[in-house]
Amino acid sequence: MDSQPTTSPLTLKAEPIEVEDLRIQYGPVIAVRDVSFAVRPGEQLTLLGPSGCGKTTTLRALAGLERPSSGTIRVGGHVVYSSAQRIDIPAEKRGLSMVFQSYAIWPHMTVFDNVAYGLRVRKRPRAEIETRVQEALDLVQMGAYAARRASQLSGGQQQRVALARACAFSPQVLLFDEPLSNLDAKLRADMRIELRELQHRLGVTSVYVTHDLEEALAMSDRIVVMRDGVVEQAGTPTEIYARPRNAFVADFVGSSNLVQGRLRPDLARGGLIALETASGEIVLGDPCGRTPGATPTFSIRTVHLQFSAQRPAGEVNVWPVRVHRCVFQGDFTQIHVAWGDRDLVIRSAALEPIAEGQAAWISADPARCVLLEGE
């Protein structure tokens, strides 16, 4: 750590990260099961999933705060953890930096001392410390608060100081453990954008953990969706959104209707495949290069179903329905319709009044009907 050159936080050499077959086990409970992913230099990777899925545990293992049971972790090409080679570099020596969910600002120090901590550990000269702390604070618009006691800050201010502290000593990797979840909604939305800009400006490699879908989609270069310790899908936000691999991802990343049916190879055309539902509806959809299994299922996003009172033009994927229920949600209206022998859910921005029991039509672009990976 004392071999760091004196660089300003604005020019960093970002490091790639590789995680291979990471397994973290507590007694009989397997919290993280054979998780693998890679982060390219300068990119932000988000671990997304519901609580208990193992994303925080994985992040902490990356940081060195949890000890995995097996696997390999490499940062910048160097092995920081390897069960095979019996290597486990302690957290303080890995050269990573972390922003915690609770901010973990030290109340007995001033803002300046908080941010300067990492630099003081590395025994930087006083003048350098002062410059870099000021730079870091300015970066998060807390420049004026340097002399303030840390215990006197609001939540949002503490979060910024935590960020400044994490950046001040020019780490090559930034880890974020749900840093925005303790903020209120409005502040969260603003901070999301700020964090993204900061990350771009610094060009630092980031691993971000959140359960908030919007955050993940807005901020990430790539997303890893996790559930129960396993990686469900990894890809860019658009990939994950447009082409979910399975039912869980489909419904977790946005809301989705899952339509299962019998394969009708005779109706397949133009690269699209057809499924016939139990009540006889025919749905055409995009196989996305996947092979249909025994129970082929399409995922159709609720926002991708078009709702109209009149029969729309088009031959394919047009069905008559009856409205069950209508829930006004502000930006959209959620409509539950009876379709065949089941319900479908549609999110529509349409403003026309919809009555319960009304007969209507829905349609879906086959490109938006995505085949899930088959069993």
């Binding site: 750590m1 940081a63 060195g64 705060l65 000890r67 940062v75 910048g76 160097h78 092995v79 920081v80 390897s82 080679q85 019996r86 290597i87 486990d88 570099i89 302690p90 957290a91 303080e92 020596k93 890995r94 050269g95 990573l96 930096s97 972390m98 915690f100 969910q101 609770s102 973990a104 030290w106 109340p107 007995h108 120090m109 901590y117 990492g118 550990v121 590395r122 935590a162 502290r165 994490a166 000593f169 880890l175």
Partner: protein
């Protein structure tokens, strides 16, 4: 970026320190226990060491003294019930109602702990002895016959124990009540239940687990209690297990194997109690999430506020004011009576106490020992807590277990084991102040661990982890983050250890030597061998000196913390 080097296993400074500490704790705690067990199983010639024959004969012989065991349980039960009632009522009043002067009363509730059961036992003996007790003298002067109260009885012992353990119960139950969500009680009141009904139907069941835990803990403490039974029970031929052990050990010829067997039995019972207590307690989480502390809504008691105030004040009166006043009153007389003549007043007791060489050297020893125990103990326990609750050392659970072990062993019994254990070691510490230091550090391990761990567990782990992520080594974090944040807890620990060591009796009375007299056993010896007036003077001098030492310490730490933080 550190170069990765294969290492198996990772031997860091942390691991070494941890293992060293574990070894120290193991020796301190387990070594005397081993000797105790060995003595209890010795059925050969008691004068020959090591034992020539092992067997269960001593435990069988204990059957003859079943009465003593019965006494112990009966007195402990009575004392526990009273202590829990005192503790619960005062805790409920002070945390759930709008009693006036709440903050002052809360601070006063800690004073009985400082006043110590010894002073209480002396004072209540002087107040309630059937013939010469002040209360009875006043009673007779008012025309009554005989004695209004008789403190020199098992009830008296239970009473004194309860008064002083009551403050411990108060703090334990109070903590439970403070962490209770007040909206649960409000829901009951909104429905229309009376305050009493709310307390019985809502509060009580919610705090029941915590109260149960406190009950078990207090009962275990009572089983091992020594002071009150020594002062109030011994003269009246009423023995509990601890005083019986003391008698057996100090008579000639001493019946050490029997005493050891009794000690082991008591230890076994207390061990089981402590086991249940820990089961009850460790199921809870202790981390206080920032900003989530409940602000308890206090019930408006109307006119009853002053009655409740009276109840709390009365408790403080009985446990603190009355004993201290009695001792002052007695210490200023030649032969203490309730209605002294003018000629009876004298300062000779204080003159005597202050000039007695034994008192001065005992007091000095106690102060030095207190400072040493508190300082070394706080450091030791701070590090132990860190290892147990914050490190990843394998086997740290065992360390915690061993460190809390002495809780289940009555101090006297422990000292007994230590007496044997250190007699056979070639190190010349037997009979010196060093063995007292070792004894104190050992028996106060649970106390210190509990105090420091309470604060440490409340400390959010991420505060230290973020320092780690900034690159700080173990020692750097300890110095810059952990210690400053723990300071209030460490100061509290120091004070507690200081007081505990100065007022310690059970272990000291067995391990004192000619050059290592300490004040509390000296006071007890004085009670048995000199006049009670002189003893009262000695006890008050001790109280004043200790209070002064504590005040100085608090001032010093406040000054150190004041100008600028860390």
């Amino acid at each position: 970026m550190a170069i990765a080097r294969p290492s198996l296993p990772r031997i860091s400074a942390q691991t070494i320190a941890g293992m060293a500490l574990a070894a120290i704790v193991g020796v301190l705690v387990l070594y005397p226990i081993f000797f105790l067990l060995q003595a209890a199983l010795d059925v050969g010639d008691p004068d020959v060491r090591p034992p020539t024959a092992y067997g269960l004969g001593n435990f069988v012989a204990m059957g003859h003294y079943a009465g003593i065991l019965g006494n112990t349980v009966a007195v402990s039960l009575a004392a526990t019930v009273m202590a829990i009632v005192f503790g619960f009522v005062t805790a409920w009043i002070l945390s759930r109602t709008d009693v006036p002067f709440r903050r002052t009363l809360e601070q006063l509730m800690a004073v009985p702990y400082y006043v110590t059961p010894l002073l209480g036992a002396f004072a209540w003996s002087m107040l309630g002895a059937p013939e010469s007790g002040f209360i009875n003298q006043v009673w007779r002067a008012m025309g009554g016959h005989g004695a209004l109260i008789d403190m020199v009885t098992p009830f008296g012992i239970a009473w004194v124990m309860a008064l002083f353990e009551g403050s411990v119960a108060f703090f334990m139950i109070g903590a439970v009540m403070k962490s209770m969500d007040p909206s649960l009680e409000e829901a009951s009141q909104v429905i229309g239940a009376s305050r009493l009904r709310t307390m019985l139907r809502v509060t009580l069941p919610l705090v029941a687990p915590g109260v149960l835990g406190a009950t078990i803990y207090v009962f275990a403490e009572m089983l091992g209690s020594f002071t009150a039974a020594l002062v109030l029970g011994l003269p009246n031929r009423f023995y509990v297990v601890t005083t019986a052990i003391y008698q057996l050990v100090s008579q000639y010829p001493p019946r050490l194997p029997l005493a050891a067997a009794m000690g082991v039995s008591l230890f076994a019972i207390m061990f089981v109690m402590m086991f249940f207590y820990r089961r009850l307690v460790t199921s809870r989480s202790f981390v206080t999430v920032t900003g989530k502390a409940f602000r308890p809504r206090r019930m408006d008691m109307g006119g009853w506020r002053w009655v409740l105030f009276g109840i709390c004040a009365f408790y403080v009166l009985l446990s603190v004011v009355l004993p201290l006043v009695t001792l002052v009153y007695a210490s200023l007389q030649q032969i203490a009576v309730a209605f002294p003549t003018a000629a009876n007043w004298t300062l000779a007791n204080y003159r005597g106490a202050l000039t007695m060489n034994a008192v001065r050297s005992a007091l000095t020893n106690s102060l030095l020992l207190g400072i040493a125990t508190a300082t070394i103990g706080t450091a030791l326990m701070g590090m132990l807590c860190w290892i147990v609750y914050r490190s990843r050392l394998p086997g740290r659970g065992i360390i915690e277990y061993v460190a809390m072990f002495p809780q289940a062993v009555p101090r006297l019994v422990f000292a007994f084991g230590m007496m044997w254990a250190w007699l056979v070691i070639p190190l010349p510490i037997y009979g010196t102040i060093w063995i007292l230091l070792i004894a104190y550090l050992t028996v106060f391990l649970p106390l210190g661990m509990r105090t420091v761990s309470g604060v440490m567990l409340q400390l959010d782990k991420t505060l230290e982890e973020s320092a780690q992520m900034c690159g700080a080594s173990w020692i750097y974090r300890l110095r810059t983050v952990t210690m400053p944040l723990l300071r209030p807890g460490l100061v509290a620990c120091w004070l507690l250890l200081f007081i505990a060591s100065v007022r310690e009796l059970g272990a000291s009375i067995l391990l004192m030597g000619p050059h290592s007299k300490v004040i509390t056993p000296a006071i007890v010896e004085s009670w048995f061998a000199t006049s009670s007036e002189l003893t009262a003077a000695m006890a008050l001098i001790q109280t004043v000196v200790v209070a002064a030492a504590m005040a100085i310490f608090v001032m010093l730490t406040r000054q150190a913390a004041g100008p600028g933080g860390d």
